[in-house]
């Protein structure tokens, strides 16, 4: 009897441990939402109902694709969609997706962030070839750069599409422009900062006229993306590190800005950086200082700038393309090679990235909480903090849609924030110039390593040769498969 009890107890223990290792698939399937039994509230733009059937599992890292899955269900009521969200912080999403790729857990559709989209697209046997959807992309005049990113380096197969494009811009303070340059008009300000030399001149003028109280940029981090976007080669060609001439230019411009005090030495994403947006920044000695402009992409306006600026500087911002066209961030969607239901998955990708109605709804704020709750009863309830919705203003990947809806942003909240300037129009002008073909999975880390070297050089701690040698060592140690 004792033996039996002991055996049972130990079995329970083992089972308990094993069960704890299971990664909670129950919870995720519980989040599955049944196909709605008919949409009651009539949506603003009703998508045609299809008779597509099957099951679909979608993995992503923000709730953007969750909104998409619900909108997709309205059009495809017979498809059962399971949506799983895994945070992208610290590479968690990426790791999990790689681990699941060759297992039964493999999702059908996967969201791919700019930081690792290229890695997945170029990996062997990771994503499904969806080149045949290109005809829809052509019809929608999808920006070529988003397709370049989704194209496999070797085979030329298209493996991922994006619903957005993320050209970068420069946001400047209108009041400061008026004070130091006598104009706050975007066209004239753009002419003043048409290239990096002019940008530097502007910085000098601002420093002189403000007596060192106003800085052109927060730090040299600001224009890193504008330099990296304009290289000729990606960081690694044939597994060998390439140091582009643009990198050298970045070293020099950083030195100029640092030595002349054109930058406030406030790091990106630091408290000071956000304080500068609401004009509440003071230096270490407690004296108020100001930052003239910020380099931010399309998503930076609604998610970073307007949120942090608050009422303090609302309406005091202008948006221009800046000295060099650049690109920053974005989300792509692809079908996993081991998808159980590739045909439905392809339909989903088509719906998300290449469907005119969906993209229009997405950008113009049709997907409100009430709209989504009408499709998916599980979302029903009072709208509040953390509710699911897609606010108007995301910059979509189709030129056709962009052209059609730009005018509707004349009186939008974001346009009020920009002192009446239609930001969508500004981005529309910048979007075609963006190059994203340099994307590689390792970009972010390589660039952070380079930025350290740039800072060491700019602050005078190392010579340029020493700094570049340090950078190469760091890359070699982190990427044992590559040569430097």
């Amino acid at each position: 009897m004792k033996k039996l009890v002991a055996l049972v107890l130990s079995l329970v223990l083992v089972l308990g441990v094993l069960a704890a290792c299971d990664n909670g698939t129950d919870e995720t399937t519980a989040a599955t939402t049944k196909a709605p039994e008919g949409t009651t509230a009539a949506p603003v733009t009703e998508p045609p109902i299809t008779n597509l059937q099957g099951e679909l599992t979608v993995w992503s890292f923000t709730n953007e694709l969750k909104t998409m899955t619900i909108a997709f269900k309205a059009a495809n009521p017979d498809v059962v969609v399971t949506y799983v969200e895994i945070p992208a912080d610290g590479g968690e999403f990426r790791q999990k997706a790689i681990a699941a790729a060759n297992t039964a857990e493999c999702p059908d559709v996967i969201g791919l962030e700019a930081a690792f989209v290229k890695e997945f697209v170029d990996a062997d046997g990771m994503l499904y070839d969806i080149s045949d959807l290109k005809v829809y992309a052509d019809a929608l005049q999808t920006y070529a750069n988003t397709i370049e990113v989704g194209t496999n380096y070797e085979s030329g197969e298209i493996r991922a599409y994006s619903y957005q494009t993320t050209p970068g811009a420069v946001f400047y303070r209108r009041s400061l422009a008026l004070e130091y340059f006598g104009t706050d008009d975007p066209t004239e300000v753009q002419a003043l900062m048409a290239d990096m030399d002019k940008f530097t001149e502007m910085a000098a003028t601002i420093k002189e006229k403000s007596g060192g109280k106003t800085f052109m940029v927060a730090s040299v981090d600001e224009f890193r993306n504008s330099y990296f976007s304009n290289r000729t080669d990606p960081w690694f060609v044939d597994d060998t590190l390439v140091i582009d001439p643009k990198v050298d230019e970045l070293f020099e411009i950083a030195k100029v800005f640092r030595e002349n005090g054109y930058e406030a030495a406030v790091n990106q994403w630091s408290e000071g950086w956000f304080n500068g947006m609401r004009d509440a920044l003071s230096d270490a000695g407690g004296n108020a200082i100001q930052i003239f402009c910020y380099f931010l992409p399309t998503w930076g306006l609604p998610y970073v700038l307007s949120g942090n600026a608050g009422d303090a500087t609302k309406g005091d911002w202008g948006c221009v393309a800046g000295p060099q066209p650049y690109q920053w961030g974005g989300t792509w969607v692809g079908v996993m090679k081991n998808a159980k239901n590739p045909e439905v998955a392809k339909e989903f990708v088509k719906f998300v990235a290449l469907d005119e109605t969906n993209l229009t709804n997405w950008a113009t704020g049709v997907y409100t909480h009430d709209y989504l709750a009408a499709i998916d009863p599980e979302l029903a309830g009072p709208a509040g903090e953390g509710e699911l919705k897609q606010a108007a203003g995301d910059f979509v990947s189709s030129k056709k849609v962009v052209d059609a809806i730009t005018a509707s942003f004349d009186d939008s909240e974001m346009s009020l924030f920009l002192g009446g300037q239609n930001s969508y129009a500004g981005f529309a002008a910048a979007a075609p110039n963006v190059s994203a073909r340099l994307f590689q999975g390792s970009d972010e880390s390589v660039q952070n390593m380079l930025l350290d070297a740039v800072r060491q050089y700019a602050s005078g701690a190392q010579t340029k040769d020493e700094a570049i040698a340090t950078f190469k060592d760091a890359v070699a140690a982190a990427f044992p498969d590559k040569s430097v």
Partner: protein, 364 residues
């Protein structure tokens, strides 16, 4: 002690006399239960620890890339060779030897080992010293500090915080020229005219991590040391006092020797933890900036695995880390072993042998 042992053995002897069969049956069943009780741990350990260690050793000799699993091949000692490249001077000239000791010219791999040891030692030595002093005070029956429980839990507090939170807080404090530390030093105290960029300074970054580790772990060490000290018999101190010993002498000749097993324990656990230091440095800078000065061995391993998907090379680093930790722990056990006890054991064994010989002789 000796008397206790002898009674125990006689007890067994009595039982043995009462019936051999019964005893065997009893011990067998007891043994079974014990095996079943430890089975869950052994099974789980074998699946999740032993197997992974062996598998890590295996992939350490391959070029496995997580995204190209089909191209895996055996590469022998390549991964290890790459790690130890440029560790030793190129030749025996004075210049080359001098260069091999110049931190600025170290490879990142060499830096990672030096950083790990430096950050750990700078944190551990003061940690042990201060914890020792505070625990002597806390456990002293002569000082009679009031509210001991309160102080002890206050000092333990930092250990309850999540390393992630602590890392982010300290990062924010020293982040840039406008960071709170600068606002305090420049704006309130007026130490400098302008903010100092703390995290661009290699030594400061390393010392900051040492400080965080110290701050988080000394409370833990105090608790362990106090537990060890309170198990030392008060009568030893009383008799020492009667013999006229002072505080220092009592510490040197009673506290320290009695604490030896506890010291070995804290040293080894801290060493194992210190060699695997990862979270705080990673949160201060994921790339080990500035100039890889806060890249620890574990950070480097994580970077190769996560950034480059180079599982083979990362596994090799894991093996090196395991070997280093094992060798150092064994060295600590060896150096801090109880020499007196060893001698006593030897002496008693010799005595037993002698007695046996004498007995034999007697019979013969």
């Amino acid at each position: 002690m000796l008397t206790g042992k002898s009674t125990k053995s006689t007890g067994v002897a009595v039982k043995a006399g009462s019936g051999n069969r019964e005893r065997r049956h009893l011990s067998l069943e007891k043994g079974h239960v014990a095996y079943i009780m430890i089975a869950p741990f052994i099974i789980v350990f074998c699946i999740f620890s032993l197997y992974t260690v062996i598998y890590t050793l295996y992939i350490g000799f391959t070029n496995l890339n997580v995204l190209k699993p089909t191209q895996v091949k055996f590469v022998g000692l390549d991964n290890f060779e790459r790690f130890f490249k440029n560790f030793l001077p190129k030749n025996l000239s004075w210049e080359a030897i001098k260069e091999s000791f110049d931190y600025q010219k170290f490879s990142v791999q060499k830096k990672s080992i030096v950083n790990t040891w430096k950050i750990w030692l700078v944190n551990y030595i003061p940690q042990l010293g201060i914890a020792m002093l505070l625990s002597v005070w806390f456990s002293s029956s002569f000082l009679k500090i009031k509210l001991i429980g309160f102080w002890r839990s206050l000092l333990y507090m930092p250990n309850l915080l999540m390393p992630a939170t602590v890392g982010v807080i300290f990062f924010k404090l020293f982040q840039d020229k406008m960071a709170p530390a600068n606002q305090f030093l420049v704006g309130i105290l007026g130490v400098w005219d302008e903010g100092f960029e703390f995290l661009m300074n290699e030594t400061f970054s390393q010392m900051l991590i040492s400080f965080i580790q110290w701050w988080m772990w000394y409370g833990n060490t105090i608790v362990i040391l106090v537990a060890g000290m309170s198990s030392i018999s008060v009568s030893l101190y009383e008799s020492a006092m009667i013999d006229g010993a002072g505080g220092v002498k009592m510490f040197r000749y009673i506290t320290l020797p009695s604490l030896r097993p506890i010291l070995v324990y804290t040293l080894v656990t801290s060493l194992v933890g210190g060699m695997q230091m990862f979270d705080i440095p990673y949160l201060i800078s994921a790339e080990g900036n500035p100039r890889n000065s806060i890249t620890t061995i574990y950070c480097l391993m994580q970077r190769q695995f996560q950034l480059a998907n180079a599982a083979g090379s990362a596994a090799a680093i894991g093996v090196i880390l395991l070997l280093m930790t094992t060798v150092c722990s064994m060295l600590i056990f060896f150096l801090l072993r109880d020499k007196d006890a060893g001698m006593e054991r030897k002496a008693s064994r010799a005595a037993r042998k002698e007695r046996a010989l004498r007995l034999k002789g007697g019979r013969a």
